[in-house]
């Protein structure tokens, strides 16, 4: 069963306790996503000395500081690029990227599509709360249409990104999505991503209650979580007709999985083959 490690997983074993309580607002879903990540790391028994977490700027970017591992809080939008250098230079490290919707899809969009294409072994955890929370609630590439933000006072007119479709189209080896409410399922999804030999993209539907929720009159954190839960359609039900899910519901679970060659290994293999012929 996927929750059998619940009893022996104590999240505080994986936190930098001196940094707690963390700086996130009350009810922010990012903390739940962080738990799922740490639980997945626990389940896989990853050596934290060999675990590197690279994060960008924004609320999601701040999470790395709370993880007791090798953590790097880098510039806005660039965690995937930093992680690419780190993972290529140090293939012995397990590199995880934590990023937000703005960090990953707006300022860092170029790095995302090329990381997907390159298929270097990295796990990218994108926490999507539909808004730039840290800067006070501006519209992001994933803000739903008609939503109010400080920069869309008339309601958002721009269509929003489907990050998983984008990652799949760009060639990511593993793509998945889950809501924060399904913690064990989210943990399993992240675990599968961590185990994937190539680039893994996991989108977490998180909630920003204090800024986005308040602006759009979406109720409490639990209300937002339950709403998200009602708007998804687990991938197991994607091909079935007779289900209670709406046709436009957001698919969750593992959405893409393929075994394209991992870039780092392919590069090293080509290099050693070249060395073999030249000597």
């Amino acid at each position: 069963m996927y929750i059998e490690t619940a009893a022996d997983f104590d999240v505080t074993d994986y936190l930098r306790k001196e940094m707690m309580p963390h700086f996130l607002c009350p009810g922010c879903g990012h903390g739940i996503a962080l738990r799922a990540l740490l639980w997945a790391i626990h389940d896989l028994g990853l050596d934290r000395d060999k675990l590197a977490v690279v994060s960008g700027i924004g609320c999601a970017g701040r999470l790395s500081a709370y993880i007791d591992a090798n953590t790097f809080h880098v510039t806005h939008g660039r965690p995937l690029a930093y992680a690419t250098g780190l993972a290529l230079a140090r293939p012995d490290l397990h590199v995880v990227v934590i990023t937000g919707d703005g960090d990953c899809l707006a300022i860092g969009g170029n790095h995302l599509i090329h990381a997907c294409r390159r298929n270097l072994k990295l796990t990218c955890l994108m926490l999507n709360n539909e808004v730039y929370g840290m800067t006070g609630g501006q519209v992001s590439p994933t803000t739903s249409e008609t939503r109010l933000t400080t920069t869309t006072p008339l309601g958002n007119q721009e269509p929003h990104f489907d990050a998983c479709a984008l990652a799949t189209a760009a060639g990511a080896g593993f793509v998945g999505r889950e809501v924060t409410h399904h913690v064990p399922k989210l943990k399993e999804l992240i675990k599968a991503g961590l185990e994937h030999p190539g680039f893994a993209f996991v989108e977490v539907l998180s909630d920003c209650t204090e800024i986005f929720g308040r602006k759009n009159d979406m109720g409490s954190s639990s209300d937002m979580m339950m709403r998200q839960k009602s708007e998804i359609r687990p991938s197991a039900y994607l091909d079935t007709v007779d289900t209670p899910f709406r046709s436009n519901a957001l698919p969750t679970g593992v959405l893409t999985r393929n075994d394209r060659p991992e870039y780092g290994a392919a590069y090293r293999q080509a290099a050693s083959a070249r060395a073999g012929t030249s000597s």
Binding site: V54, V74, G85, A89, A270
Partner: protein
């Protein structure tokens, strides 16, 4: 400039190569094992050469999706403990600036090569320029120190690339190697004597994890770095941080850390400083120049001296931190200073500040052409004669 050592006998000891190739080979000799770049004229030969050479030494070359990703990947590789470099030209250098500031603030060693071309904007991609002197120093936001080296020949590109890595590692700082398109694509004979070079290594964390502070400068203001995998599990951030590496806005902690950051380079000027003074002791007029302009000036000094004009040349090799003391010494007996440079007056601005009160005149050429020795000689001779 550097005399070829006639005792070098190795098969690859002496080669006729371009400045960009010399840079790539210098990097390999210095222990660089990671390069990330993006194609841009006139620096692309560095990337092309390293794409071939790095796999041969178990290194990694990667062409990233853009200039920003390139510097980011380089810093990422260096955070992993691997010596890393990127190369670019003006537009790309501008794009990299935010992350260069990150490397300076988080104290991640790395080498950034900027082969200067005409600007602003796309400018003249195939024509030389010396207009990134200020960008190299002040390009990123906020206050930060940085080392900038300005070699003037192909063989000096080779040796200064090696020195750039040494300084980056020793001082935990980004180092910019700044040279112009002329020497980048000029081929000269170079003694590839860096292979046996005992390259500097970073100060790595040792001892118990509980006692280790990632940004404690210790006695030399340079903190020991924790290598991922060694069990220290530290945090690195671009936010202002305390000795423990975690974000802080405590005024004392912020001041203490930034002060140490600046003192770090000041305290190691003996390692960092490098300049050359030619016939300056008795010079009435001292020419101050870098790169290809300094080479023209060398010829000009010979011409002036031949005509009896007491003219000397001062050439900063480490441009930032600027060798102010050395410049003052070199111009101690001078009546005037002439600054030939391929921009509208960036070096002259520095010289005027350092030598306040000294008549400083510039020759500024920004047409995409190099300055001719005769133009420098003519003006220097005139100045020496009191004109």
């Amino acid at each position: 400039m550097n005399a070829i050592d006639p005792t070098l006998t190795g098969k690859n000891a002496v080669k006729l190569i371009s400045g960009n190739h010399a840079c790539a080979l210098g990097a390999i000799a210095a222990g660089c094992r990671f390069f990330a770049g993006y194609p841009i004229t006139p620096s692309s030969e560095i990337a092309e050469r390293l794409a071939r050479s790095l796999p041969e030494v178990d290194g990694v070359f990667v062409q990233m999706e853009d200039e920003i990703a390139s510097i980011a990947a380089v810093i990422g590789a260096s955070m992993g403990g691997v010596k890393a470099m990127t190369a670019t030209s003006g537009p790309g250098f501008s794009l990299k600036q935010e992350n260069i500031g990150y490397a300076a603030g988080a104290e991640i060693p790395c080498v950034i090569v900027n082969v200067m071309r005409g600007g602003p904007s796309t400018g003249m991609p195939t024509r030389p320029s010396q207009a990134d002197i200020m960008q190299a120093r002040w390009g990123s936001h906020g206050d930060y120190p940085i080392i900038v080296l300005t070699p003037a020949s192909v063989s000096e590109i080779y040796s200064e690339t090696i020195r750039a890595f040494d300084l980056a590692e020793q001082c935990r700082t980004p180092v910019v190697l700044l040279y112009d398109q002329v020497i980048a694509q000029l081929s000269e004979t170079v003694a590839l004597d860096g292979a046996g070079h005992a390259s500097a290594t970073r100060k790595w964390a040792s001892g118990p994890r509980a006692d280790y502070k990632p940004y404690d400068g210790g006695s030399d203001a340079i903190p020991a770095m924790a290598k991922p995998g060694d069990g220290y599990r530290t945090h690195t951030t671009g936010l202002t941080h305390g000795e423990d590496g975690f974000p802080t806005q405590n005024p004392e902690a912020v001041t203490r850390n930034l002060s140490r950051l600046f003192s770090k380079l000041e305290r190691h000027r003996d390692l960092i400083d490098s300049s050359e003074a030619l016939h300056c002791d008795d010079a009435d007029v001292v020419i101050v120049a870098i790169g290809i302009s300094a080479r023209a000036a060398t010829r000009a000094v010979e011409q002036c001296r031949a005509q009896g004009a007491r003219v000397g040349l001062f050439r900063p090799i480490t441009f930032w931190p600027f060798p102010e003391m050395q410049l003052r010494q070199a111009t101690a007996n001078a009546r005037a200073v002439l600054v030939p440079e391929m921009n509208t007056g960036q070096l002259r601005l520095v010289v005027e500040r350092v030598l306040a009160g000294m008549p400083v005149e510039g020759i500024h050429l920004f047409s995409g052409e190099a300055i001719a020795p005769s133009d420098i000689a003519a003006r220097a001779t005139a100045l020496a004669r009191g004109a």
